[in-house]
Symmetry: D2
Subunit: 151 residues, 4 copies
């Protein structure tokens, strides 16, 4: 599958365990829960860059990002107690917006569970309006995420 072939482009990976409160009556992970897994991936990706998440939900260097759009394709179900790998990259950076790509795999049988794209926008903290992603953050991201490109 193409997405699995592309996994080398994802510089960040964390593992999550499927919990009893995350599955539905069919014993499979509820469709909304994957957005939580991907968000965990994003926060840990950003932590790896050396940027801290503050108690207010804002990253420490004035990096206030908001989700503008999510797209998720459900490829195979994941089950209770599965150990899943959440792979994360930033695929592109526009002016104020940029895009996290996620792949979730079950490594025990190399099954692709979902693919996700999450478009973020950087907001000016005073005006609440979109603002160009600062150059120093672009540099940090593109240094870490070799396949990321600016549009």
């Amino acid at each position: 599958m193409n997405q699995i072939a592309e996994i080398d482009k994802y510089p960040h990976m964390i593992s999550v365990r499927v919990r009893n409160f995350e599955v539905d009556s069919q014993g499979i992970v509820h469709n909304a829960v994957y957005l939580n897994y991907c968000e965990i991936g994003r926060v840990e990706y950003v932590r790896t860059l050396g940027i801290q998440l503050l108690p207010t939900g804002i990253f420490d260097n004035q990096f206030k990002i908001n989700v503008k759009r999510n797209e998720i394709n459900y490829e195979s179900p994941a089950y209770l107690d599965d150990l899943l790998n959440v792979h994360t990259r930033i695929s592109y950076i526009k002016n104020s917006s940029f895009c996290f790509d996620h792949i979730i795999m079950r490594p025990s049988d190399r099954t692709l569970i979902i693919t996700q794209k999450s478009v973020q926008v950087n907001l000016n903290l005073k005006t609440g309006r979109p603002e160009r992603l600062p150059d120093d953050i672009r540099k940090i991201i593109m240094n870490f995420d070799k396949s990321c490109y600016e549009i």
Copy 2:
């Protein structure tokens, strides 16, 4: 069952529908979800008293309550798509603390699902320390909740 006999003492009731993201792999409501149902009951009870919940999570007349303790007994499982009744009362008021009692029933077969007690404490907004529940709020509560008593 005693709790069902006591249901007349509960002056407030709302209904909730069990959703797919609230059940576990056995198709029964997850044990933590009942605390959400009871909280919905409390917020709607307080709304009935004419007190508004603000976007900050504080009620509008300086009524800043925090959960100090929860006790919950699981009597029978509830299932996906069940329509449940959440019965709410305030059983007692101490100085700064007071206690919400909840009963959740499935009315279709008059089954008792859970009983819950939730001890709240009123906090001073500046100091963050417990503070006597104001007399005007006591009056509103005891007028609405005839079996509530002050200790």
Copy 3:
């Protein structure tokens, strides 16, 4: 805005109240929670068609649908205690798949909160493979949802 103009095409609407456990530290609804709201919309839409959701998570007339893809655009934030309207329609039916469209509005100020598309696939219960959506269900849907078309 176009989506608001199109709201007349949505034959089903339910209201949900934003709860304390659904907002994040900024007091706004968490991005994953809207998928729950839309799912509530879908289940109630299907109930309106006279089709029952069973405790197993399968609809009663062998209508076993699974989410294949979700797309969601976040237009404006919703806040704690907001009363939101979830508008639902089925926009098209292919062979085994079909698409729910959702609009969530805050009616108090006519603000568009999100738009969502959720592609479903009808599965054969024995094989677990996609199967043409039965004609009787197509008829029920297209009778209820006047702007739905078959592709």
Copy 4:
């Protein structure tokens, strides 16, 4: 504080990170979420004993446990992105029931967050009725959990 003094009696500990979808509008962990954290503690405790959680939600050696009662005391709030330690022990075993005790601490400042007791009952899979906890499981538990006693 007594509970912190007792922490040596807890033979099992896991860490959890507080996520954005687990806090409320005040940026503190929602009261129901701690029940999830404690459940994660229980599942990992049982895994440490060498007992597997199956996709059906039943442990692999016919150990079908259900939560009968939860008690939770909220001592201090935990905040977004906190790293918390969930300490777990089984404090006593009766005939069919037994009790998990949990302490959640924030190790960065040695703050006690919550204490919890969760009474479980072992069910016969065919009848669904309480059944004496088997001797082999008692032996495994009491070998691992030195302060656990039988009543």
